[in-house]
Assembly symmetry: C2
Amino acid sequence: MKTILPLTLVFWAFAVALRVPTQAQAARPDQPTYSSDGKLVRPADYREWVYLSSGLGMTYGPAGTGRNPMFDNVFVMREAYRQFMQTGTWPEKTIFVLEIRRAETNVSINNGGQTQGGMVALEVEVKDRSRFPETGWGFFNFGDAPNFQAAAAALPTSATCYSCHRQNTAVENTFVQFYPTLMEVARRLGTVKPAYDPAHKVQ
Amino acid sequence: MKTILPLTLVFWAFAVALRVPTQAQAARPDQPTYSSDGKLVRPADYREWVYLSSGLGMTYGPAGTGRNPMFDNVFVMREAYRQFMQTGTWPEKTIFVLEIRRAETNVSINNGGQTQGGMVALEVEVKDRSRFPETGWGFFNFGDAPNFQAAAAALPTSATCYSCHRQNTAVENTFVQFYPTLMEVARRLGTVKPAYDPAHKVQ
């Protein structure tokens, strides 16, 4: 007993130091988690991930549709972000979360412009060649707030997100042209797609 | 020698596990760093902190000043965020970064609304009673992009940010009413100021 306690402590200290996974970490925070029927489990803690950028009222089709403009916020996993900052590319298993929020006016002392309100929708893109051998990337829609699905099947590859991302993104399958802190890294490291044309519009 | 090496390893493992600062961690990532003349060192890695929210064209004074609307993004340190989610209050030494960015239109395939562009300004708020015994909070302006100051002295307490935050913020000295994910926590935990009036406007 005299030796067991110190050895246990030493193991625990090393386990923390070396980030050895314990049972409680079965769902790795740096990997997508899929349910037994192949659905992607909705990331629980993405608000602690790295924020990439926001837009307000972004419209890829014809402008001026009369819809209330909404905010979009994009988040990416921490480790993937760090690798991108070093290499200009995304590692396999990278997850992106797109959050859509209402735009509010005149909240509290604000008299002009817009601030963010409640959630509207939650969508995810995953780089995972082992799961999506055809496209290399999967897209998921977790439905509408407040009743988000706990897990979502990948959208069919006929969904427009697949073709739009493939044809119009600046770096790999991601809209880095809308993330100013990443675009300058991609330019510096030469990972912007040769075919990327900043003047190109969707037909 | 035989006993020194294992003991060193054990100390190192415990040091990492318990986050005992080593020499290389003199500037703790979870604490504000001040220069020898009392200036706040500009946080280098705040884009890896937790994102709170954004606004576009926020105006506390009279609306419609004709200025181009700009995006603001607010970030807070990870540990402080986690404590807020548990308690609805901010720990001492919490740092908030306010980033102002240009709003761009018609970037790439976007035909409507705005996306974020280059940096315009960088401001910081710190909760630090030991440094600011009078106010409990310090405000810092690191100047205009791209020539941000490496370190900035606290603004004088006559600056409007001190009185505006004191009088108009929903939780402590922070505009939690503009951060939807935090406001619901503060409401649930009862840390919204009793005097906070969501209908109040600045005179």
